[in-house]
């Protein structure tokens, strides 16, 4: 399926954004998030950004106080996912202007939209910042 889920979690372990591309019940989601967050938070900067969890991999990266974690299938290219995370952060940065955790908290739907533009059904469909931002800006004006 490519990407299975995307999470944004802060250092205290609070989830700021959760986007799932396969159906999981509430308890499963909570359990999953708890496990993964614990694993990633326990690692330091010297270690690589890939963690194996059950039958898939988690690719994560820390930006300031937020951890971006993407759960992918085993055969996905990890470096490409890292690039994708970076792209996401850059796009949000451009849109919000020096994005920080609060921006995401208060404008959660914008973040969701950005993600929806970039990833569809678990596959990355858009990688150009300009395209993503233009459609979001248009959408904002549309209502």
């Amino acid at each position: 399926m490519g990407i299975r889920f995307i999470l944004m979690v802060n250092k205290q372990g609070q989830t700021r954004l959760a986007q799932y591309y396969e159906w999981l019940t509430l308890e499963e989601r909570r359990a999953l998030e708890g496990e993964i967050v614990r694993k990633c938070l326990a690692r330091n900067d010297q270690q690589c950004s890939f963690v194996e969890h059950r039958n898939y991999k988690i690719v994560y990266r820390r930006y300031a106080s937020l951890f971006f974690m993407v759960g992918v299938d085993d055969d996905e290219n990890e470096l490409a996912i890292l690039e994708f995370i970076h792209l996401l952060v850059e796009t949000m940065d451009k849109h919000f202007g020096n994005v920080c955790e609060l921006d995401i908290m208060f404008h959660l739907e914008k973040a969701h939209f950005m993600l929806e533009e970039m990833v569809m059904n678990g596959c990355i469909v858009e990688t150009s910042k300009a395209n993503i931002l233009s459609s979001i800006q248009l959408m904002d004006k549309a209502h």
Binding site: Q47, E78, E116, V125, S128
Partner: protein, 870 residues
């Protein structure tokens, strides 16, 4: 703020999401309180008819559900209402809520079909995109079926924005409703030739997924994909195309040849590490037969390995481990880097390095590598230490210890492992100690030596993880006591007070081993006495020369020590320990009298002598490895009805048998169930007739007659059981019938010892690997269906292309003309060469075995691979 009564202010103004968030952040404690109050508010607001209020409430609810785990499925209907609003803002919120919370079981799912359809047909492309997004996340079979026509239309939309999303949705639609393939596939393929990078990226993504599930169906599209591979400059697209080719090349080797060169080009030219890595991965996994490509890939891997970036190091090691099985030279070239990685900070890197190292191991370097690894194990944290131990154990025991030549060294290594502080792999070591004892006769002396060292160390008894190892040591010491140098000390070790720390099951093993040692000592004492005149000491090799020094005093002492040690245990509450202790004490009781009187022990008629000889007989039976299929080999003796239906039972106790399912409960259970019920009934009806108890016992007797061999032998003579135990050949015999493999190593100058004989069973040798996880049958069926649909779509496509040829005159569009004429050329060239490829069943992965058969049977046309590609 904390009062529960609502004020007028609260009622008049609805809190927006922003207010909610702000309020939440201001709460330092009492978060759940805050949430429940907010929920109450939301419940009130959401029932209002005004859509604005409703949608704000829904918005807040989605937020809470997404981040704080609040259940929002009760609001499903309200979400549907909100979505029907003409305002975009509301639609957005509604769709967001729907995608977040709807799933297959949501009852109102049917209601949104029409709404989604309306939105898909909308002129506003953003509404369309909302609807498409929704469909992609929650699409069910029904939704997919109903909305396929709309998706089809959108696939041809002029707006790239919409088209791209429609392509993204297609995958989900296909998955849920395979018939959609017939409709949409053609348009999908057309988009492969699109020049718009957005579209291309989306299409390639879809094909990547399809190729993963069923490479065969995408094979005919290889030419278009090849063009993309060569022309595209977009890294993302290239990565996906590479993945597709990786899957295709594994089923069509000739494709690999064609693709190898462009891939190498990319590897050389590109700067992007992700692309390089994908190329490497493609080459080593699917193109591993192309030497030039592999060499280049390995060179690139080397570059990764020497980087400081832990990510690259990890990926380099990963790639190396994929290439290792076929190209061991690559691993050996990079040996230093791998060993260095063992001490890296990152546990992932360390693990990969460990696995790589184990793949390099063979009989020459096994001791050297084990030495290095043991040193690392001592220095590492517990987790990695156990990983090391486990991988060494599994590598060495593979295939009945294939790579071990020097078993003495290996056995002492096992003992060493037991002493590593963090060792938690006790069970595996236990298994191997016993296994080696059974299979390798020549290793037994060393085994006994190592076990003895472990047994006499009182410190080890306190370590919970080592208990299995101690159990194995005790067993070995008892079973192969003839190699023991000092059985007296062994017995002392087995009975030391600290053994109280052991769990009862292991303690039982200890006691039983002490028993075996005792019997052995007595026997050898008697034989020594006996053979003072005759030299029958041949049986007892040099190992026992020291034992002939048994004197009467030492034997008496031994017996006393054992009696003292086991005396207290005869009253212990654990049944097993008590029983074993009593066995030994009983035996001692039998012989003690005569021993104390120091009767003429040469006399064969003494009780002592006879009893000891008898016990020694019991213990001298050699235990060998038992094949896992041994039971099946035993043929069922004639007259034994295993499958007979217990139909007669119905009449006798029908009312008791009814609640029991006939297929789920075995016959024996049925009997016991009904019999026990009868008994209970007995007790309840004190004045009942005597027939039920009679029936119960007669049933039992009947059952026993039929299935007598499954009953434990009873004390009284049962005429049924007389002949049966002997019908079953002993398990040992089967093992001994199969000749052990003679192993002739190539003579190496520095190897003085020949490898000892290892008993292997031809079949049924237990492998310790966990069984492969069974594939979910359902997904296999779904995939089957989908791939069949794609198959037929492609056939239609081929036929359709012919039709296009005829219709060129009718269609005025230049684009289509070009397209169809191009296809026509291709078709002609195919026809001219007339190469038809038959799909081989063997090429299929096991997942699609059944489908392969179906396809070959049902496909009227073979799938043609265009020739210029081969």
């Amino acid at each position: 703020m904390s009062s529960s009564s609502t004020s007028i202010m609260d009622n008049l103004f609805q809190r927006s999401l922003e207010d909610l968030i702000k309020g939440f952040r201001l709460q330092l404690l009492g978060e759940s309180n805050f949430i429940s109050r907010a929920l109450e508010e939301i419940r009130r607001e959401i029932k209002v008819t005004d859509l604005s209020t409703k949608s704000t409430a829904l918005h807040k609810l989605s937020y809470l559900a997404a981040l704080h785990g609040v259940d929002m499925s009760w609001a499903a209907f309200h979400a549907v209402e909100v979505v029907s609003s003409p305002r975009f803002q509301h639609k957005r919120i509604g769709y967001q809520a729907i995608t977040q919370s709807f799933h297959e079981q949501t009852s109102v799912l049917l209601l949104i079909t029409n709404q989604v359809r309306k939105d898909l047909n909308s002129a506003n492309e953003y509404e369309v995109s909302l609807a498409l997004e929704c469909l992609s996340r929650i699409g069910t079979h029904d939704l997919a079926r109903d909305l396929t026509p709309e998706v089809f239309t959108l696939l041809g939309s002029s707006k790239a924005f919409v088209k791209k999303k429609a392509i993204g949705v297609v995958l989900r639609v296909f998955e849920k409703y395979p018939d959609a393939v017939k409709v949409c596939f053609k348009r999908l393929v057309e988009n492969l030739e699109s020049s718009d990078p957005q579209i291309l990226s989306a299409v390639v993504g879809v094909f990547c997924e399809l190729a993963t599930r069923d490479p065969g169906s995408c094979l005919p599209l290889a030419p278009e994909l090849y063009k993309v591979l060569v022309d595209s400059r977009n890294n993302w697209v290239l990565i996906k195309v590479l993945k597709i080719f990786a899957k295709l090349a594994s089923i069509e080797p000739r494709l690999g040849k064609k693709v190898a060169e462009p891939i190498c080009e990319h590897m050389r030219r590109t700067v992007a590490k992700s692309l390089v890595f994908e190329c490497i991965r493609t080459v080593v996994s699917s193109l591993s037969d192309h030497e030039a490509a592999v060499k280049l890939a390995v060179a690139k891997i080397r570059e990764f390995l020497v980087e400081d970036d832990p990510n690259l190091k990890y990926l380099g090691l990963n790639a190396l481990s994929i290439v290792a099985p076929k190209h061991l030279w690559a691993v050996l070239e990079n040996k230093e880097a791998v060993v260095k990685a063992l001490s890296d900070e990152d546990p992932n890197v360390k693990l990969e390095a460990l696995h790589l190292l184990m793949s390099m191991v063979n009989e020459d370097n096994v001791s050297e590598i084990s030495r290095i690894l043991m040193n690392y194990a001592l220095k590492s944290d517990p987790l990695f230490c156990n990983e090391i131990i486990f991988s060494v154990l599994s590598a060495c025991s593979r295939n009945a210890y294939e790579i071990i030549v020097d078993f003495d060294w290996y056995v002492s290594l096992l003992g060493e492992m037991a002493r590593i502080p963090h060792c938690q792999r006790g069970e595996e070591i236990e298994h191997q100690l016993i296994d080696i004892g059974m299979r390798v006769r020549d290793a037994r002396p060393q085994l006994v030596r190592v076990s003895w060292a472990l047994l006499i160390d009182p410190a080890l008894l306190g370590n919970l993880f080592l208990h299995p190892i101690l159990s194995a040591s005790a067993w070995v010491s008892g079973e192969y006591v003839e190699f023991c140098k000092n059985p007296y000390e062994t017995v002392e070790a087995l009975l030391q007070p600290r053994t109280g720390l052991l769990p009862p099951s292991i303690r039982a093993v200890y006691i039983h081993s002490a028993f075996k040692v005792l019997v052995f000592c007595l026997r050898s004492y008697f034989s020594a006495e006996e053979s003072t005149l005759s030299f029958s000491a041949q049986e007892f090799s040099s190992a026992s020369s020291s034992m002939n020094a048994f004197t009467y005093e030492s034997i008496l002492n031994l017996v006393n020590v054992i009696e003292l040690g086991l005396g207290p245990l005869s009253g212990t509450h654990d049944v097993e320990v008590q029983e074993r202790a009593k066995n030994v004490l009983g035996y001692i009781g039998m012989i003690k009298q005569e021993l104390a009187e120091k009767l003429n022990l040469q006399d064969n008629e003494t009780e002592v002598f006879r009893v000891t000889a008898f016990m020694e007989d019991v213990f001298s039976e050699e235990l060998g490895p038992v094949s896992a299929t041994a039971q099946e080999k035993v043929c069922v003796p004639g007259g034994l009805e295993l499958k007979e239906n217990l139909g007669d039972l119905e009449e006798i106790c029908g009312e008791f048998l009814k609640p029991v399912e006939s297929d789920s409960v075995s016959d024996t259970d049925k009997i016991s169930f009904s019999v026990s019920k009868l008994r209970i009934r007995d007790q309840q009806e004190a004045s009942s007739s005597s027939s039920p108890p009679h029936e119960a016992s007669s049933l039992l007797a009947e059952h026993r007659k039929r299935h007598g061999m499954y009953y434990l032998p009873s004390q009284k003579d049962d005429p049924d059981n007389n002949g049966t135990p002997n019908d079953y050949p002993l398990a040992n015999e089967l093992a001994n019938e199969i000749s052990p493999d003679p192993f002739n190593p190539k003579k190496k100058p520095n190897q003085s010892k020949q490898r000892p004989v290892v008993v292997k069973l031809e079949e049924g040798d237990e492998s310790r690997n966990p069984p492969q996880a069974k594939l979910d049958i359902e997904t296999v069926n779904d995939d089957e269906y989908l791939s069949r649909a794609i198959q037929s779509a492609l056939l239609v496509k081929n036929k359709g292309k012919e039709k296009d040829k005829h219709e060129t005159n009718l269609n005025s569009g230049q684009h289509e003309k070009d397209e169809s004429s191009r296809i026509e050329d291709q078709q002609n060239s195919e026809k001219k060469k007339k190469k038809k490829k038959k799909k081989k069943n063997g090429e299929r992965s096991s997942k699609h075995k059944s489908r392969g058969r179906n396809v070959v049977a049902s496909a009227s046309e073979q799938v043609i691979i265009p020739d210029y590609l081969l």
